[in-house]
Subunit: 189 residues, 2 copies
DNA sequence: ACAAAATCTAAACATTTGTTATCGTTTTCC
DNA sequence: GGAAAACGATAACAAATGTTTAGATTTTGT
């Protein structure tokens, strides 16, 4: 749980006593590769913090097709935060790509934090801002970059992604078919 | 400025005295149709609140092409919030589509609010969460819906958008060319 | 260790979407 | 009020991307 504690300490100042009490609401949970941490069509009341491993976030459209919208790995918070915040049912599935070790932050922990941590609201603000910035940047890239350019960019952001997830999921993340990704990579030479 | 005050009151509880003091940092500003409120390649230290009118957010890619990424109208906060938060130069331009009346919230107002409003951090959290939810929903739609489906959806969200902005900007927002939007609309019959 | 499943590439073809050019209409701006 | 610009539709053509199928290789599960 120290990893979570460190991550929080990097965002806000938090006392030993506060941290202790906050962590009491949280617990560790492991998942096997391919496990679904969080399923769609259900209400979301937990946020995960990843200590080890990598997962993907995917969404299924009306034709039953899967789209990988996001990857998350060590030292990141992950959830269908949209559903968590709005109280609507989730549209996403979280699927472990490797054996995972996580810390679960139940809604109670987070609400307790808002009310009792000196900088609890600030922590919530920084997390929301962080993910807002991430999504805004992605939207910028979707509008202004070609799939190949986005592919190169992703390699800069996640240098080891190729060894951890199959390429057809990367293609899905880029919004193209795996066949097309093959073509694009070939053209690079 | 009452419109801004009301918008804030809907999100947090704020006393008369607090509101008074906060508003003292803000001021009204008007823009003519086609004016650029906020230019790209510069640092962002203001957030706008729209009292009247509508604007678009656009981004210019390396080939010099414009992409309309967002519309904002009455009772909404708008800025390159990404650049505002990160301290990086803006990638967006904000352009008035009609004569605009706005209230400017300078960075000082917002920072003062975080430190002095009882629920200042909470306000910041709610705004960031609101825009995160908006962007996440857009990304869901980009992955799972066709341009036509996104077009129909947009009409539900902004019923009067057609009377306020030209169609080629709507096409740009949808990520397609105006010619293609014409085609799509024709197929609907 | 071995059979089954998953993965990546490739080619041929189909579909979608973009590009360029044109035309008539509407809007804008002095 | 009138010239100029912006706008929306359309057609013909070009480019990008998806679909289907196949085959070779690797990974997975037991």
């Amino acid at each position: 749980m120290n990893t979570l504690r460190n991550a929080i300490s990097q965002m806000i100042s938090i006392s030993e006593a506060e941290a202790e009490e906050f962590m009491a609401f949280c617990y560790r949970k492991s998942f096997r590769k391919k496990a679904i941490l969080s399923d769609d069509d259900q209400f979301i009341n937990e946020v995960y913090f990843i200590e080890k491993g990598i997962l993907r976030v995917k969404i299924i459209d009306l034709d039953g097709r899967e789209h990988t919208t996001h990857f998350a790995s060590e030292n990141q918070f992950i959830a269908d935060y949209n559903a968590f915040l709005t109280g609507k049912k989730s549209r996403y599935q979280l699927e472990a790509m490797e054996d995972l070790e996580t810390v679960v932050l139940p809604r109670k922990a987070i609400e307790w934090g808002y009310q009792n941590l000196k900088e609890g609201e600030k922590l919530g603000r920084l997390v929301a801002e962080y993910y807002f910035i991430y999504l805004d940047t992605r939207i910028q890239h979707l509008y202004t970059l070609s799939p190949l350019e986005r592919y190169d960019l992703m390699n800069g952001l996640f240098p080891d992604i190729h060894n951890r997830v199959p390429q057809h999921m990367i293609a899905s993340y880029l919004g193209i078919t795996p066949i097309h990704l093959s073509r694009i990579k070939k053209q690079k030479d």
